[in-house]
Symmetry: C2
Subunit: 161 residues, 2 copies
DNA sequence: GAGAGACTACTCGGATACAGTCTGTCCGAGTAAATCCGG
DNA sequence: CCGGATTTACTCGGACAGACTGTATCCGAGTAGTCTCTC
């Protein structure tokens, strides 16, 4: 069980888009180039975010993506669920119903204990991801980085906006 | 990102093996039949548990598997990691090193912020799974189930031990 | 100089391809208990 | 009746195959700015 590499990609892209001036768009091509990623496939991931309502896109020249909401209102979980889907990491197939000793037509009174534990673990994971916003991410990604590198990156991005 | 179905299978199998008398073995064939699972493929999963030191196997007739430790000393996480591996759900590929503005030979001072958050979420998930043992599981799976069904299942298993 | 039309750069969506993983099956080698057979 | 040889029932491990998912690539359709051309 491992997350798609797209998850890492779009999180980095979201961090960049957070730094963009109001109402400016950045093209997939530039996001791909800045992160050293395959443009076409990254595009698919960004489309997912767009469909999830996290990004807004514009066509034509100087088109591209921008955040659909303030970075403080977008969480890690939003981004990850947009790419991975909202399904729980554990799918209960009701194995207990296969028990040969089980009377026909017997109806289980409560959800399977295994599913319950797995569901709680999944929720703990999601809760942690829900607690971190893109604003928090920007802070974490910039602290400890030399100012001239930040400045240079910012200008690189701004020049393509 | 979804867990293998083998995870659900072996958790159910572990619950059954927890109920076994001391030093009694149950064959893969019977575990598969009781849970309505493909015997050969289930066998692969049980082998993983055996290699992880959670189960002990014996060859020959009346062979099979039993728990290697008291059920209170085996956790959900032990079982899941035996099947899924111990890798984190998130693999950081150090995208930030691809930044075209990054000076050559520049060395990152700290782990990537994204990897840190994802790692913490992963740890929250594992922590929850670490807190539930097979003893807890047995309690959860039996409560609310009619005594005659439990009795019948127990005899079914015991007859094949 | 202004307006209409052509051009360009981009997103979007579908089609396709390839590799790896998940799920499942089959079979032979090795092993331990049960059975059989000879003395 | 006893001990060794054979049979049997199981695990273990490897080989194999099909389906699905993840990782890409390519291209055509649609769109919004920009450019050009004509009046």
């Amino acid at each position: 069980m491992i997350l798609k590499s797209q998850v890492e990609w779009v999180l980095h892209c979201c961090a960049i888009l957070s730094a963009l001036p109001e109402n400016k768009y950045l093209a997939t091509k530039d996001l791909a180039e800045f992160n050293g990623l395959p443009k076409e496939y990254l595009s698919k991931a960004l489309q997912s975010l767009s469909q999830a309502g996290l990004l807004v896109s514009t066509l034509g020249p100087s088109g591209g993506y921008r955040l659909a909401k303030p970075p403080g209102e977008i969480t890690f979980l939003d981004v990850i669920e947009a790419v991975e889907g909202k399904n729980s990491t554990f799918q209960c197939t009701e194995i207990r119903q296969k028990n040969p000793c089980r009377p026909k037509g017997y109806c289980e009174p409560a959800p399977c204990g295994i599913a319950r534990v797995m569901g709680e673990a999944d929720e703990a994971w999601r809760q942690k991801l829900r607690s971190v916003s893109l604003t928090d991410l920007s802070r974490m990604l910039t602290e400890g980085v030399p100012p001239e590198l930040l400045q240079k990156s910012f200008e690189w991005i701004l020049a393509r906006t």
